[in-house]
């Protein structure tokens, strides 16, 4: 199902050339005046004189082979331009994901298992955090930690791995904030719900030690909804990363996408969009797979009796 989504998505992305007002040449050039002879080059490169379906096929085939066209503004291969920026975005998303998984699930589990002051605290904090969009969080973090406290740099990429970690910490936190809150809340609710289930009573009644009950019967069963929400939120990071990259002046794919959108560099927009949508779908697919492993009822439809 998701593969079908991906195909349709790629089709829509491709069709952007025709959705844009004006003819494809105008779209490709972004309304800029073109030197003579370029029109023929463009027509040839993008097979503009062939039937629509064939054009789509050429484009897709090229894309799958790593050829995403040429940037009209920088006159370089889109794939090269992407490759130089992809690790920034990947690193950022990865860093944020780690924060979400460790802090989000961690806080959710602890507060789910222990009602009391800590739990109330977590509820309040997550309620507030869930309402702070990434770019607002960016502002606050820059103000407090970069300007006032000077613990972290405010802008830009780092030079080495360690300095990258420093540079990416505030952006990762800004990116993770909302997702962290959502994951913590859902985790807490799932853990609470599972702890009340009757099969947990059965385990207790057989003298299974508390720690094992928590691990094998509460957390293990809560794993599916927790994994689902974590997967969904991590997938959403892929899009929001653009905002954070702009706010912190990081040269990642998202920032580049925005710039390309502003300058109407269609080929770049298409290339990056395709990549991001693919990543989004892949993350969702992985989440579903993990869930199927965790809960056998999801994997098998027909049950032999």
């Amino acid at each position: 199902m998701l593969i079908a989504s991906l195909l349709v998505a790629s089709f829509v992305i491709f069709a952007a050339l025709y959705l844009a007002p004006g003819n494809p040449i105008a779209a490709l050039s972004g309304g800029r005046p073109l030197p003579p002879g370029s029109v023929q080059v463009l027509e040839q490169r993008y097979h503009l004189n062939e039937p629509f379906g064939a054009q789509y096929w050429y484009w897709l085939d090229n894309a799958l082979h790593g050829n995403l066209g040429v940037s009209i503004t920088l006159r370089e291969n889109v794939s090269t331009l992407i490759a130089s920026r992809i690790w920034t975005t990947a690193g950022l998303v990865l860093y944020a994901s780690v924060i979400i998984v460790v802090l989000g699930i961690g806080l959710g589990v602890v507060s789910g298992l222990r009602p009391g002051v800590f739990d109330t605290g977590v509820l309040v904090v997550t309620a507030v955090l869930a309402a702070i969009p990434a770019f607002v969080a960016a502002i606050a973090l820059i103000l407090v930690f970069a300007v006032r406290l000077g613990w972290f740099p405010a802008l830009g990429n780092g030079t080495s791995f360690l300095s990258n970690v420093r540079h990416f910490t505030l952006p990762a936190l800004a990116l993770a904030a909302v997702s962290l809150a959502i994951v913590a809340r859902v985790t807490r609710a799932s853990v609470r719900q599972e702890a009340e289930r009757e099969h947990v009573q059965t385990a207790v009644s057989r003298g299974i030690p508390a720690r094992q009950v928590i691990r094998r019967h509460i957390l293990r069963n809560a794993a599916v909804p927790i994994t689902t929400i974590t997967g969904i939120t991590i997938a959403s990071l892929i899009a929001v990363a653009a905002v954070v990259e702009i706010a912190f002046s990081l040269n990642g794919l998202g920032a580049y996408l925005v710039q390309a959108a502003e300058t109407k560099d269609i080929a770049v927009v298409q290339g990056i969009s395709l990549l991001l949508v693919t990543a989004f779908v892949v993350v969702n697919l992985l989440t579903d797979l993990i869930c199927a492993v965790l809960d056998p009822r999801l994997a098998l439809r027909d049950s032999p009796r």
Binding site: V8, F135, V269
Partner: protein, 285 residues
């Protein structure tokens, strides 16, 4: 007719009261924001759009509680005026998305069979597009601006709304009273409009509220990126982007104030939405 309106209004109030003190407080905040959105430009003490570079980054002085932004404009006035685009944009997104979502969900639930499969499959495909991505994409094709961004977001949100509503509509469809009405000869449209939709109305309202929060965040983000509302139009997202340099220059107030406005409304919307959603679920048993 007037009596009908009054009773709907009273029912709405009762629903609101049932959300508890937190829900009521949130509703008050949202109402205040809405009023500001409607009357903002009139309430603003100063001209929100007139730059005066000599006052650039000036701090709070006299009646100007929040100081001046990077172009010497009164921040408070700009916030009040900015409420308009900051609130109306999400509202448009919600209306479009919920209206289309309800239509598709009820149609799919009612017809079932092939129509349902077709609609569900179509919606499933939309799941592949995160909102912000679709909005950036739309800006690249159609040019930056609020309408393109709003429509893009509506399309991106559609599958989520439709999925929830379809489930509820299916459940409603299976109720005995629907079969009874069908036997009596009522038309499908009549049943849907007069019975199914009103019965899932609390859920629709809850979804719309939650969606408003997401739309607000996403639209502000897109405006922040420069692809939504365009400067110099006043907008909270735009204001954050415009005044971001102020953070490093020692003048954080304009950006922070705009950020606080966004956060406050979103918290209120989330809190209210959560409670309405819990109520809607409890009512459905």
């Amino acid at each position: 007719m007037a009596a009908g309106d009054a009773s709907t209004f009273r029912r709405g109030l009762a629903l609101l009261r049932a959300t508890g003190p937190v829900g009521i407080a949130s509703a008050v905040v949202i109402a205040a924001a809405t009023l500001t959105a409607v009357f903002g430009p009139l309430l603003a003490p100063d001209d929100p759009d007139l730059p005066n570079l000599s006052l650039s980054w000036a701090g709070p002085v006299g009646g100007h509680l929040l100081g001046y932004d990077f172009q010497g404009r009164d921040v408070l006035s700009r916030l009040l005026a900015g409420a308009q685009s900051s609130m109306l944009g999400p509202l448009a997104v919600v209306v479009l998305s919920v209206a289309a979502g309800t239509l598709l969900a009820v149609t799919a639930a009612w017809r079932r069979g092939i129509s349902d499969t077709a609609i569900s499959s179509g919606l499933n495909i939309l799941f592949a597009f995160p909102g912000i991505l679709l909005a950036i994409f739309a800006a690249a094709i159609f040019g930056a601006g609020l309408p393109a961004a709003a429509i893009a977001l509506s399309i991106a949100y559609l599958p989520y709304v439709a999925r929830v509503l379809r489930g509820a509509a299916l459940k409603e469809r299976g109720q005995p009273y629907v079969a009874a009405l069908e036997v009596q000869g009522a038309s499908a449209t009549a049943i849907c409009l007069r019975h199914v939709v009103p019965n899932i109305w609390p859920l629709i309202v809850a979804q719309a509220t939650i969606l408003f929060g997401y739309a607000m965040v996403d639209l502000a983000a897109i405006s922040f990126l420069g692809l939504g509302v365009q400067p110099p139009t006043a907008n909270w997202g735009v204001m954050i982007a415009e005044n971001q340099d102020g953070l490093l220059l020692g003048h954080p107030l304009p950006a922070v104030a705009a950020g606080l406005c966004i956060v406050t409304v979103v918290i209120a919307v989330n809190l209210l939405g959560e409670r309405l959603s819990a109520q809607a679920q409890a009512a459905r048993g």
